[in-house]
């Protein structure tokens, strides 16, 4: 079978996929968003605490706690054998980003839960110290999922290994900002509003950079089908959120509408990534053409050596 693309052709076996698409259910993109937002929220919590914006800090901390309570449920629900979730904690395996992520999530969850418990018991110093610990682990929780998906044979994920962590970081930051902007009192939430708008701008830039660096062929899965719809809607929601949040910065209602838009944009971006990954695995040209190009390039200087 010949498939033409930009004047090039690639062959395939009846158009069948070469690599297998991921088998994760929608729990996983939801987890990517919730885990990412929780990690960034912990960082914002520490920053707010340092500025004396304690109510904002509490909002971010509650968001992080909610995140670490929901996250394991989503992850376990997606397993083929949920009762064996704990098997991931029987080993410490540096070559497996998913194993590393399980440890990161566990440590982060322990710190946030411990800090909340200490807060209830009135141990303020312990509570604050554990907040800082969570704030230190938070960024890792936000970006490790990008490493996880990039460390696969899925064409658009692996090829985007340099930019995907920035997409995920921007999404986390924007979501944490949106949570603070929506739920913290106005006099304290200035930094969260700036973070929300900045994160949304960052998400647009990081997503655009990712597509550009993927090149015309591998950007296709992000522009077509369901993934294309997710990505376009995400970008429109980001733009709407930035516009509403900037123009209506004096109004709490407008701020909340902007926060909802930007949170929605972040969720859809995660769905765009997982769906584009699936689409890129299902069409063999995304696997064959980059590999062919690499082989041809390697062959040219070396001469006639055959692989």
């Amino acid at each position: 079978m010949i498939e033409a693309h930009d004047g090039r052709t690639s062959q395939s076996y009846y158009g069948r996929p070469i690599v297998k698409p991921h088998v994760w259910r929608p729990y996983i993109p939801w987890y990517f968003w919730i885990g990412g937002a929780a990690g960034a929220a912990a960082v914002e919590c520490v920053c707010a605490r340092m500025r004396g914006a304690h109510r904002l800090a509490t909002v971010e901390k509650r968001a992080a706690l909610a995140g670490v309570l929901i996250a394991p449920v989503l992850l376990i629900a997606d397993l083929g054998v949920p009762a064996r979730f704990v098997n991931m904690l029987r080993v410490f395996k540096l070559t497996s980003p998913m194993n590393m992520g399980t440890w990161i999530l566990s440590a982060f969850g322990g710190a946030i839960a411990g800090s909340t418990a200490a807060e209830i018991l009135g141990w303020q110093r312990t509570s604050r110290a554990l907040e800082v610990v969570a704030g230190g682990i938070g960024p890792a929780l936000t970006v490790y999922t990008a490493v996880l998906v990039a460390d696969t044979a899925t064409p658009v994920w692996h090829a985007a290994g340099d930019t995907l962590p920035f997409v995920f970081a921007a999404s986390g930051v924007a979501s944490a900002g949106a949570i603070g902007a929506a739920f913290a009192p106005r006099e304290e939430s200035g930094s969260a509003r700036r973070l929300m708008i900045g994160g949304a701008i960052g998400l647009l830039i990081a997503g655009g950079t990712m597509e550009t660096r993927l090149g015309p062929l591998l950007a296709e899965p992000y522009r077509t089908g369901k993934a294309g719809e997710f990505r376009t809607t995400s970008m429109l929601l980001s733009l709407a959120g930035i516009a509403i949040g900037t123009l209506g910065r004096k109004s709490q209602t407008a701020t909340r509408v902007a926060a909802a838009c930007i949170a929605g944009a972040c969720i859809l971006e995660r769905f765009a990534v997982t769906t584009a990954g699936k689409q890129s695995a299902l069409d063999p040209k995304y696997t064959v053409e980059p590999q062919r190009a690499r082989l041809d390039q390697a062959r040219q200087p070396a001469g006639a050596s055959r692989k």
Binding site: P17, V19, S96, D151, G199
Partner: protein, 293 residues
């Protein structure tokens, strides 16, 4: 895995330390394959794998389609109806049309595909539970009693071999008949192959045999396009435990032309993630402390 075998602890210990065990593998010579699918059947029977149901591809004699969690051997049928045209027909309709015109130049390429048992195995690297292990035979095996069905190995495999099974939720793939190997037996597929297209043995010996076969085929002038796929150890997966003699480009058989284990890029990936994490902290701090209010 070990409790499946009636061994004493001491014997098990011995097996683990037997470093002298040569690496086992498959050499699949596609010039000998007659497409009988005996390997598919033998594999399913020996490993007690469920049937795939009655599905018809409508484009060839291949109704299996692909390797999956419950299909560990898959015979590909490539039907090239003109020898000089680089590609087989695109649709069933084209196929009929071309058949009328070019009946004389037709050739069938058949290839029994299987897990490659990579030297650098992505599935084994990314497995978060340690369920995927390397055996004393140098093969890669899923421990069914450890796997929790996270599905990470599925997109990680550069060949699309391993898959998650719907029935029991575990990942499944070829074990090179680990249980038969333990008893010194030949894997079921190789045993059932009537033409010795699937050859089992010590990997080193298979490589020598394959090299000789390639030279012979080329000298005879019948298969000048023949090449060995995954035979060398300098590729992206460090060489495979199961390699092939092909008559066309790998992608024609549904195989990747330049596969690699993404673990080789893991350092770079974490470095980019570290930069992104620093940016996250920087932006958050800037939003908090950068403005007057």
């Amino acid at each position: 895995m070990a409790d499946l075998y009636d061994e004493t602890a001491a014997e098990r210990e011995m097996a683990t330390h037997e470093a002298s065990q040569p690496r086992k593998g498959f050499f699949t010579d596609t010039t000998l394959c007659i497409g009988c699918k005996a390997c598919e059947v033998a594999c399913k029977e020996w490993n007690q794998l469920p049937a795939d149901g009655y599905t018809f591809s409508g484009n060839s004699y291949d109704n299996t389609g692909q390797l999956s969690g419950s299909t560990w051997r898959h015979v590909a049928f490539v039907e090239q109806l003109t020898r000089d045209a680089a590609a087989p027909p695109a649709t069933a309709k084209d196929e009929r049309a071309q058949q009328v015109v070019h009946t004389d130049g037709a050739r069938w390429l058949m290839e029994s595909d299987v897990c490659k048992h990579c030297t650098h195995a992505a599935c084994l690297d990314v497995c978060p539970t340690g369920a995927l292990v390397r055996t004393e035979f140098g093969t890669v095996v899923v421990q069914q009693d450890v796997c929790n069905g996270c599905g990470y190995c599925v997109p990680a495999c550069p060949f699309g071999v391993i898959d998650k099974r719907d029935d029991d939720g575990h990942a499944g793939k070829c074990t090179l008949c680990y249980d038969r190997l333990k008893d010194g037996e030949t894997p079921a597929c190789a045993k059932a192959c009537p033409t010795e297209s699937i050859q089992y043995g010590d990997l080193e010996e298979l490589r020598v045999r394959a090299d000789a076969r390639l030279v012979k085929l080329r000298d005879e002038g019948r298969y000048v396009d023949a090449s060995l796929y995954l035979r060398d150890t300098d590729d992206g997966i460090g060489g495979a435990g199961a390699f092939f003699l092909l008559l066309d480009k790998p992608e024609v058989y549904g195989l990747p032309p330049d596969p690699f284990d993404t673990t080789r890029d893991l350092g770079k990936l974490w470095r980019q993630a570290a930069y992104a994490a620093l940016a996250l902290v920087g932006v958050t701090a800037l939003a908090a402390f950068g403005a007057k209010r």
